[in-house]
């Protein structure tokens, strides 16, 4: 059983379209991160959210942390082919003294030119 479930698992869209990726859990997280991974490489951090309800923007990407700190979403506006990749959410559980970083199941995004 995965701690963090992402949906959709696969997403193929045309350039210029908008999309939203979801990351859900029944656990509370002290922080949540979004990473992007390209073939043959390790994941690279995009953003960290810490406060319930927090919204962060990174150019065309908008990240939101749920009020209860159990879920998060990533919205991409006007997707570009360069956005293609595997998007992973990762959370640090509220657990004293621990900073284990658990990753979600991933969303594989393909943006078609």
């Amino acid at each position: 059983t995965q701690l963090l479930e992402q949906s959709p698992q696969f997403l193929s869209i045309q350039e210029g379209e908008n999309l939203t990726v979801y990351c859900n859990s029944s656990s509370v997280f002290s922080s949540l991160q979004w990473y992007r991974q390209e073939p043959g490489e390790g994941p690279v951090l995009l953003v960290t959210v810490v406060t319930g309800g927090e919204v962060k923007k990174l150019k065309r990407l908008t990240f939101q942390f749920g009020d209860a700190r159990k879920d998060s979403s990533l919205h991409i506006t006007a997707a570009q082919p360069g956005d293609t990749g595997l998007y992973l959410c990762a959370g640090t559980r509220e657990q004293t003294g621990a900073n284990n970083l658990f990753f979600g199941t991933g969303t594989r995004l393909t943006v078609i030119p």
């Binding site: 991160q33 490489e41 994941p43 951090l45 992973l88 990762a90 970083l101």
Partner: protein, 116 residues
């Protein structure tokens, strides 16, 4: 340019052989993670070290896997004996584990292991 270095990049071995994967974390980072990535399971946390001490290795099959940090510049993951189901990409990541804002994990490029 600080980065996590993993060796080897690719490893093909026969079932039953010992495999050792190495990781050099970013200088100054006190946290090291080992992950395994497969298409079916995604990224699974195998082990987690803070200041060279293992804090959590509950995700690691203990009978054949072992993880150590002989010193602050080297982390190792060993599989003995290896089995075909161990075939995966193994990632090492390092970070500064001082608080929730410092849990960014910097990943290496991974070791692609194939056990035949």
């Amino acid at each position: 340019d600080a980065r996590v270095t993993q060796t080897p990049r690719d490893k093909v071995t026969e079932m039953g052989q010992e495999v050792t994967m190495r990781c050099q974390p970013i200088l100054g980072h006190n946290t090291v993670f080992w992950y395994r990535q497969t298409m079916m399971q995604g990224l699974e946390l195998l082990a987690y070290f803070r200041n060279r001490a293992p804090l959590d290795d509950s995700g690691m099959p203990k009978d054949r896997f072992s993880a150590e940090m002989p010193d602050a510049t080297l982390a190792t993951l060993k599989i003995q004996p290896s089995e075909p189901r161990d075939s995966a990409v193994y990632f090492c990541a390092s970070g500064l584990g001082q608080g929730v804002l410092n849990t960014e994990a910097f990943f290496g490029q991974g070791t692609r292991l194939t056990v035949v």
